[in-house]
């Protein structure tokens, strides 16, 4: 179900001396089934934006529509919205509270008023989706490793069967292996269930490999909203706002400058490999 943001602005501490315009006139359409990367420097308004998608924050001006309905209108069921637009916060493992992993994942579906059986089925399916082994199901979530905890927390949101999954910096604080595992899992999840995924990150590397659309935010505004290769063409402008194209894009540019005739619109290592091999085969 599509989400539409219409001229959304959000001002923190309005009417005080410390007012900050975190979102400035944002208009976006998030259609079904896309894999979107939301990128921006710290303080660019990414986290504020995603909290508008499920009604945790209210726009100072402008409106958010979910499936054609204004989410701030009278009588709109916010609870239902939050089950449809699953939001995984930064460091989601800090929200775990139950005595064992399985009951923690059950928390979301239980709040939806599902039967015990349905709740448990969903929790089981969600834990399987994030690739947690059965052996951990009845352990205390606090005994798990950082990466495992994070999976449990993501499963806690997945168990509500959202149609849109929003992940705010899901890889923050993980080692490279944990990061790749989580991102691969999200990509696999996207393939299998076909849900819409919005991945918030400040790392181009993370995002370039997976998404089919990138939204770049700067100072509360949408700077670019396009396919990855189109966005990364603007790497000079990206650098000016504290971001960068993936490293492999730079390598390909250098190669071109040194007289190797390879394409410079490359954003992933896999593409770079193809390009370079093709170049040498031609010679």
């Amino acid at each position: 179900m599509p989400i539409i943001l219409d001229k959304v602005s959000h001002i923190y501490g309005e009417d005080t001396a410390m007012a900050v315009r975190a979102l400035d006139n944002i208009s976006l359409v998030i259609p079904d089934g896309q894999f979107i990367g939301l990128i921006g420097h710290t303080g660019s308004g990414k986290s504020t934006l995603v909290q508008h998608l499920n009604g945790l924050m209210k726009a100072t001006s402008g409106a958010v529509y979910f499936n054609g309905e204004d989410i701030d209108s009278e009588g709109f069921d916010k609870k239902k919205l939050r089950s449809k637009v699953g939001l995984v916060f930064q460091y989601p493992e800090h929200q775990l509270f139950e005595t064992d992993v399985f009951s923690d994942v059950c928390f979301g579906p239980k709040n939806l008023g599902l039967t015990k059986k349905e709740t448990e089925l969903r929790a089981y399916a969600a834990l399987k989706l994030v690739g947690l082994e059965d052996a951990y199901f009845y352990q205390s979530p606090f005994d798990l490793s950082g990466g495992q905890k994070r999976r449990v927390a993501i499963a806690g949101v997945l168990a509500m069967k959202p149609e849109v999954l929003v992940l705010d910096e899901p890889t923050a604080g993980l080692d490279p292996k944990g990061r790749d595992e989580i991102l691969d899992q999200i990509a696999a999840l996207k393939r299998e269930t076909g849900i819409t995924v919005l991945l918030v990150s400040h790392s181009m590397e993370d995002v370039a490999k997976y998404v089919d659309r990138i939204i770049v935010m700067n100072k509360g505004r949408v700077m670019y909203d396009d396919e990855p290769r189109e966005v990364f063409k603007q790497y000079h402008e990206l650098e000016a706002v504290g971001l960068a194209a993936p490293q492999v894009t730079y390598i390909m540019k250098e190669l071109r400058e040194h007289g190797y005739d390879v394409g410079d619109e490359v954003t992933t290592i896999e593409e770079a490999k193809q390009e370079i091999l093709a170049y040498f085969r031609e010679r």
Partner: protein, 268 residues
Amino acid sequence: MLRDITLGQYYQADSVIHRLDPRVKLGATILFIISLFAFHGVGGYVTAALFLALVIRLSGVPFRFMIKGMKSIVFLLSITVIFNLFLTPGEPVFSLWKLTVTREGVKLAVLLSVRLGLLIIGSSVMTLTTTPNQLTDGLEKMLKPLNKLKVPVHEIAMMMSIALRFIPILMEETDKIMKAQLARCADFESGNLIRKAKSLVPLLVPLFISAFRRANDLAMAMEARCYRGGEHRTKMKPLHYEKRDYMAYLVVLCYLAAGVVLGKLLPI
């Protein structure tokens, strides 16, 4: 959600009051509070109000910030006023059903609300113009003599400043966890008292865990910097009195004298 609490809020400005030694401000606040209860008569309260107005003017803090602190005690104040109005025995002014408002009651109610109002505004002047760190520094230095009685003054001051520092952090954390659970369709509002209390578990458990984690991190960081507590510890910004501080003490004494004299001259 929780950003409206003004406790210990500091208002950044560059004024004489801001620059005063925290000990002066602490001492003056205590004297001011005592004076509010010691003064008698209209004269005393007019002096106190004028003195406070002068200090607020000097501090450069907008008056509406002071009023913010008042909001929290409106409820308490109205209860005291109502009880005093109706339950003080004396000469009746008028009756409302079975309740009688007396002359003495009116007097007492007005007196109490003026006192409480001045007290709250007076102490918020101190917290608005002094950072929590300065405040605990001042307190530590003031209570230093108690060290001789084996009171761990430095440790108490350190605990106070850590506690004060943690208030905004924990408030932010609460906000974050609350939102995270709301995103999992948690319901903090509906249901009876028991259900409501139960619904706080998903909020409180992560909050406690995070508080312990933060405390642990802080302890580790302090150890890593070889913190060992009070004995022989020097300060980066040691407190010492300057001319303006002595002047401030003098002003406070003048105020006390004026209050006593005017209170005698203009009784109620």
